[in-house]
């Protein structure tokens, strides 16, 4: 909840037109995905990779976000996020 509140105040300052119209599928793991991924980028990044990334691709992408792009995501959330993306936005 605290993360979400932080997220809200961040969006209010920087969100660009139209971003609020993107909704991810309402399945388990969505909260973690929104809280972690949308800190740094809009969620259309996820949708546009649907035809491209399978589970291995999503694993690599999430690992890149943590190891190269500086996202601080714990191992439990990392697994939840990978599962959500692979199941709902996997090739």
């Amino acid at each position: 909840m605290r993360t979400l509140l932080l997220l809200l105040s961040f969006f209010a300052a920087t969100a660009t037109a139209g971003e609020s119209q993107i909704f991810l599928k309402d399945r388990p793991g969505k909260n973690q995905v929104v809280a972690q991924c949308a800190m740094c980028h809009s969620l259309d990044y996820i949708i546009l990779h649907t035809p491209i990334l399978d589970r291995t691709g999503w694993e690599k992408t999430v690992a890149k976000m943590i190891n190269s792009m500086g996202a601080s995501i714990n191992d439990a959330d990392k697994q939840i996020i990978i599962d959500y993306l692979a199941q709902n936005y996997g090739k």
């Binding site: 969006f11 037109a17 119209q21 909704f23 740094c40 546009l48 996202a71």
Partner: protein, 401 residues
Amino acid sequence: MVDRRHFIKKSAGSLAALGGLVLLQRSGLAAAIGTEELTTLDALPGKEALIKQTYRPPNYETPINYFDAPFTPNKRFFVRYHNAVIPEVKIDEWRLRIGGDAVRTPLELSLEQLRKDFKQVEIAALCLCSGNRRGLFQPPVPGVQWGSGAMGNALWRGVRLKDVLAGAGIDKSALEVSLDGADSGVHKTTPDFVKSLPLAKALDENTLIAFEMNGEPLPHWNGYPARLIIPGWTATYWIKHLIAINVLSKPFDGFWMKTAYRIPKDRFPSGQFSSQETEAAMPITEIVVNSLITNLADGQTLPNAKSIEINGIAWDGGNGIARVDVSTNGGSNWHQATLKQDYGRFSWRQWHWVFEPKHPGTYRIMARATSHSGTSQPLEPIPNPSGYHHNAVQKITIQLV
């Protein structure tokens, strides 16, 4: 759910504040839920509608029909960012700092000083995203799925980087020059978008610090108040909102040089940036020869006529375009197009050819540019892990009825 409603309301408020114009090609919100995103036209504040790839960081491409002109209007010029924190620069506070371990006297310049203390020059040059047309690679490659619109041609006015560096004095040990803009990541741990140039390219007389684009100050989304212009090299080096230039005695080892924007050495010409090359890979540098049909779209139906005008543009990394050939039968026969006005070897070159069809039907139109170095476009793109340098001959089908 409370959180989401809250979020929508808050965002809607900030939308109004930003004055953004949304032109969604959708029947309603429901269409946006799920996996399919339709093409979205959206206007960033101060811009006109462009094709939205991602909202944040903003990545927007220009619809191809705006390329049917020598220069791309500022309000239609593509936008590409890697990180989401993009401050609005206050001009009184903005300073350009020249430093680094291989500089003699560090400098700090205001925009006024930059404009007045150095000779101003203007150059026509194509600004082209390394990943332009990434979305056309098969199999697809991760990254922003650009069509053909992550580019634009403009007249850039500014001062030479070499003159500014001479003001600071370059030490003999200088090897590279790094460039940093005011934008950054949300997390402190996210790699700042910093690029470097080999010293020779930094000292090239065509490498500019530009403050004007097509006769106007740079738009915010294209790098206000000053950005790098590296004619002939892909736009990854054209740092926007420039705030720091460092002359370095060692290769710059940031993420955006060492890991990103790299291509395999065995598939593209090497040697442009030897201090950043490894055995197998090197940074992307020079733009490859390419062309685009600008007045016809794939799948378009037109009334049959005695003559059909085919317009386009062609470009390369600075050799200049020698010829463009057009085929209307899928590559069996080629006809030399007429090149229009030459705005310099770093500008794209418009061309046209008049097709006189003998009868209605389906026609496979192709265009192929050849540069003054004799290089021409391949029929298939050269595969590479990040989907750069897509310069395959374009093939479109039109119906004449």
